[in-house]
Structures are given as C-alpha cells and as structure tokens.
Amino acid sequence: MIADFGYGVLLVTFLVTVYSVFAAIYGEFKKKPAMVESARRAMLLTWPLLTLTAGILIYLLINNHFEVQFVYEVTSRSMPTYLKVTAWWGGQAGSLLFWSWLMSAFASLVTLRKWDRDREFLPWVIVVASVTMAFFIGMNVFFENPFAKLYQSFDGQIAPHTFQPANSILFTPRDGQGLNPLLRHPGMVIHPPMLYLGFVSFVIPYAFALAALITGRTDDRWIRLTRRWALWAWLFLSAGLVLGGRWAYDVLGWGGYWGWDPVEIAAFMPWLTGTAFLHSVMIQEKRGMLKHWNMLLVILTYDLVIFGTFLTRSGVLSSVHAFAQSAIGPLFFAFIGLTLITSVALLIYRWDSLKSETKMTSMLSREALFLLNNLLFMSILVVCFWGVIYPLISELFTGQKVTVGPPFYERATSPLFATLMLLMGIAPLSAWGHSTVKTLGRAIWKPTVGAVIITAVLYATYTQNIIALIGFFLVALVILVTLYEYWRGAYARQRSQDENILASFWNLTGRNRRRYGGYIIHLSMMLMAIGILGIEIFQVETQGTIAVGDSLQLSGYTIKYKEVASWDDRPSGVNYTRAVVEVYDKDGKYLGNLNPRKDYYYDSQQPMTIPGQLASLKDEVYVLLIDWEPISPVGTTFKVFVNPLVNWLWLGSLLFLVGVIIAAWPDKDPERVAVRAGKRAHQTSAAD
C-alpha cells in the first residue's frame, strides 16, 4: 500500500518535471513571464516531492518490507538500521532515485537565487535541469521502479510488478538478500553520495552554458554565475574519487587504491575535463579568450558525467553485469547522443559570437601555459577514453576480446602527469598577458636550485631510481615555487600593511581566496604525488604460508604470526576469522600488533578481506589474511605489503579539502562587491 503511494508520488514528480520543461519553453516563446514563473515553481516542487518518495523508500527499507523487490535485494533482517538507510543507493533503482533527489536539490537551490540580472537565462536553465531530471526520474518510473512488488502467479512464478497482475498474490520473502558486504564499509557509505554530488552539481554549469548558447548572451556572465558551482562540484567529485580509493585500499585487499578499472576511469574522466575547465575559465575571466573551449569543456564534462553513469549501469563494458538486459542502456545512450549533438550544434551555431576579445602576446604568458595545461588534461582524457573503448573496438572489428590494464594507462599517462607537474611549477610564476624567458628565469631559479639540492640529498640517502628522482624533483620544485609565491605575497603585504608575518599569511589568503586556495590545492596534489610515487615505485610484497610462531620478512620488517581465531556473529550473520601478528622493525624493536581479518557474510555468501595496517609517514605495513585452514594450524597464508609513503596520499587529500573550501567559500555578497568594483568589474576583482 505505502509502496504504491511512493510510486504515485514518483509518477507525479515525473509529470511535474515534464510540465516545467514545457511551461518554460511556452512562457519563453509566448513572452509570458507568468508561465516561466510557474515552471520555476514546478521545479522547486520536485525536491519536496522526491524527498517524500525517498522517505517512503527508506521507511520500507528500515521496516523490512521484503515484498518490495528493491528492499528484498539490498537489505536483510540482520543489517543495522544505518546500513538499511544507506542501502538506498546500494542497488540500481535506488541509486537512480538518489541521483534524481540530489539533482532536484541542486536545481531548487539554483532556482532560489536572485534572477533579476539574468532573467533571460532562467527559462533555459529550467529546461536543461528539468530535462535531465525528467530523464532520470522517468527511468525510475518506467523501467527501474524501486517500489515494484513481488507477485506470485498460480504457476509458482515469482516476478516483480508495479501493479498486481491478474491471478496472482503478493509474495513476501521471509528475509532479504542483504547488502553486498563490499558496500558495507563506511567508505562505501559516503563514497557514492560524494561522487553523485559531484556528478549532479556539474549539471548546473552545463545548464547555464546551454542557456547562454540558446539566448545568445555569450559574454562572461554564465561563467561568473557558475564558477563557484563548478568548484563545489569539483570538490565533491574529487572527494568521491579519493574516498573510492580509500575504500578500495581498505576493503578490496589488493594493497592498492586505484586499479585503472573502467568503473574508476568513468568517474575520473569528468574530473579531468572539470579540472581543465576550472583552469581555462580563468583565462576567459581575465583575458576574454577561449570562450568556445570553455563551452566545449562544460559540454564534455556533462556528457562524461552521464556517460560515466551509463558505463557503470548498462553493462556495455562487462558482460557479467546482471542488468545487461535492462532497458536503461539504450535510453542512456539515446540521452547522451541527444544532448551531445544538441550542444555541439548550438556551439557551432553560436561560434561567431564567442570570439576572443584579446590576443595572446607571449608563449610564456600564464594563459599560454594554461592552454598547455588544458592540452595535457585532454591528452590524459584521450588515453582514458581510448583505454575504456579499445576492448569494445577490438571485439567489434576483430572478434578478439582484450584487456586494457594498468600498464597501458601508467605508461601513457605518466609522462603527461610529469609534464603537468612541471607546468604547475612554472605557471604560478608567469604573468597574465606577458612573460619572457628572462622574467620567468629570474623567478624560478631559486626554487629550481632548491629542488636540485633536495633531489641530490634524496639520491644520496633514499633512492637511486631515476623515475622516482624525476618525480621527487618535480614535487620539490612545485612545493618550493608555491611556498616561494606565498612568501613573496605575504612579505609584500607585511611590509605595506605593517602586520606580523602570520597575520599577513592569513589576510593574504582571505583576500585572494581563489589564488591561494588554488596554491594550497597544488601543494596538496604534491603531497598526494609523494604517496603515489611511493606506492607505484617502491611497493614490495611477499606471500607465504607459515605456522604459529613463524614469521615473514619483508624490507626490514618481521611479521610474526601469533594466533588465529574464528567465530560466528549470529545476529549479524557474519563469520569472522581474525589473526594476530606482531610487527618488528629491522633492529628487532616491537612496533605493534596487527589484526588482518577475513569476514564471511552468510546471507550473500561473500568473503571480505580486511587488512591489518600499521601506518606511519615513512611507510605502511599492510598484512592480509589470505587462506586459513581450520584443521591444520600449520598453514596460514599471509600476504604482506610494504607501501612506502602511501599515507602522504591521504594527508594530501585532507589538505586538498581545505584548499578547495578556501577557494570555493562564498563571498559575503558577490553581487555587491562586483557593483562596487564598478567599471573594472568585468576585469578582475580582489576576491579572485
């Protein structure tokens, strides 16, 4: 009953979004502002409606309504309540609803802002956002109904139906199948929402970009309105990616955080175009250039967002997905095709009005270096896209299935990443419009000397690996350049304002949030780079079967096997096997106990390998319990990784968060600041 009500609300929401699309178009063409206003209110209505729908679904999940197919598939009686709530995005239908719900929240937020200065954008922003929303809600309504119930017909067949078929009775299973244990990790609980938030919030810049293209108001207005959105979207997407990495590291038990899996790459691709966009948008703001390019980047990001959802949800990439037969694959495809073709056609149509206002004056100017940066990001995108699509092409044209694994991506992208780091070192020192080898050289020689010294020290004390040394040199260069820039700014400010140096740092960041937030992001990227270099180049592993009291040796560490125990946790339906190992360093000093685990979930018949981790800034000892024979305690198999420097990666991600929040924090009243800046408002404002 309550499930039917949920479906009813969902259906109404779908109709409301469709209405808002048509009302906005009608109001725009017939010049009836009242219709546009009505469309705007319709869009505002979607969020409460979807919240109600979601509330009903959560109610069903919490209260074990297993007659609802979705509830049956993702929960079971033994799951704690908080997991039952998060099971909402643990399955196909629920995650589509979750997508729509987040989307509607963002759409409502955007419709609530003041539109006085941008009336002409409003109907088209509504159209784009509502079309996207209608698409996702429509899929829930027509193909992936989260409220479909299980019915048993008289010949014993049990199948999900939205409405009760003739000659059938409602079927209520005694217990549900339970959430995939891999998805029960805290990292997985917040990773999809973050990723989805990132995905969804990139729809807003796209909506404004298209509105600008349709109305022909192709000045910088749409960029100014959406750049902060884009920054927040980028923050969520980045956080989603990092959390996904952390989850893989903690749960998948392969000693790494990133496996160049197509699903990961699908989420990484919009991040690449988004990052390129965040950089090139600055060129448009400061120099009025690259307008076409920015449009294209926004369009690409939007379609890669949909493409990413499509890849992971349609089974194109792997034949093993259960929903390969689902109708949503072709629909996603049609939607991508439609939006891509429409956007590109619009872009070509408006090509002329997007001409650059100024010209490039120097190959070493900041805008030129930003263009190089964009080229590199696009190249990484091409590598990723090609790697994802190559197996498809190979199978279609030669009938041969191939795997494109990490070696391809690592080889093809590492020179690109290295060049990006080099640019990160140079670009902050170059000026807009005009830089010469001389001015640049003057600025960069001190940090370069510093980086060379650091690299020499590392060569003498840490590693002779040439690739690692190149990497560390670049890291050192970027860090020094960034700190040097910071110091120069603070120093100048301190002298002119008579502040102490700490206050200068603080005020400098506060007054130039985007610049210094950006620098903090650069620094955090370098910390992450240290972690990545560490694990990619210096990771070592060993595996062995040992008896109690015996030990394994790896890179100076001794891992001594103390004991193992196994027990059932009946209420939660899990069997735990937990080993105790002691870790000693090379001088025999006791460092601590580790408890690698193997959890077996009875309801889904899945094992999970939880590593024991001993973390420090220098490295991390990562022990996995691979195999355990209950009868003979002689043979317990452990796998040990030593992951040097890996924790810099997580440290970097925290700093990254700080950086983006500093850069994206809303100004007190951006509109008024812009007005006060008066005629120079279209140039640069202090907040930038």
Partner: protein, 192 residues
Amino acid sequence: MTESTSPATQRRGVPLWAQIIIWVFLVGLLAIVALGLNRAQQGTVQPGHKIDNFTLPLFSGYEYEGKSEVHLDDFRGKIVVINFWASWCKPCEQEAAELQEAWEQYEPTGEVVFLGVDYVDTEPEARVYLKKFGITYSNGPDLATRISQYFRIKGVPETYFVDREGVLQYVQVGPFSSIQQIKDILDPMLAE
C-alpha cells in the same frame, strides 16, 4: 584548441570542412558505443540460428571415435548437444550425472552426439571433475574462449541443442534438474 579555427580575422562561423570532421567524429564515436551496447544487450544465440562450423580439440581419453579433434560440420545428420561447463562451477555439478546418464541412453542410437566444452578451466582440474562424475562423452577445452564467444554464453552451465541440419533448436541456461528435461528436448528432435 578549437579556438584556433576562429582567428581574429573576419572569417564567419565554423568552416564547413571542420564541421564535417566534427560530425563524422561524433557520429563515429556514438556508432561504436551503440554497436558495443547492442552487443551487450544481445542474449545468447537464439534458436533457429544456423550454427557455423567450429573446431573443438579433445582431452586425451575423451576423444570422439579416436579423433583428437572434432568439427561441428562432421556431425551433419546427427543431433549435437553442446554443454558448456567448468570444474570451478558449482551448479555444473548438479547436472553432470544427468548429462552422463542421458548420453548413455542416447549413445546406442548413433544419432546424438554430446560435446562437453570446458570453459576457462585448467586441464588437471577438468580431468578430476570428469573422473569424479564418470563422464565418458567427448570433452575438450574452449581454446581462447572462441566457441563460448560465438554462442555469447552468459555463464556456465549452458547447453545448446543443434539439429541434423546444423540449426540451433533449443538453449538451456542453467543446470538441468532431471534427465526427463533433457529427454523432453531430445525426443521431439529425434522424431523429426
């Protein structure tokens, strides 16, 4: 990058050649994804489809009339039952005895051939499995997964019934639950 096609000179819009390149590229990309999607959406080969010839090398001890390699076309005039299995596949074990029993019943007629196609398996383990269930009909590895790719199998076990003319008549996805099930498929085919 695209910017370059719009120099500050008085040229209007996007040149035609560039537009053509853009659209061809876009449509090509979409076409590849569409083809891939189409492939992913296809189920197994459907009944009524004429099955192309394929070659199955056989494990020693599981040869067909002394031949260590068989071709589907050699069996024109006979009914061929192609069973995909693997030693690591638990559901396969449910039907192994039934399949062998059916083979023993139909072998004397000389009109039915059973072929076991071992999917992504290692030979030592496969032999242990064959021995365990006393299987005697011809069995061989699916080299480079060519045969399973042709049939677009979705998993193991799956069984395909090919009639005397080499046309697929019936597809069983998942294990057989009884020998009667196999008979119900084979007997009408034999009667034709």
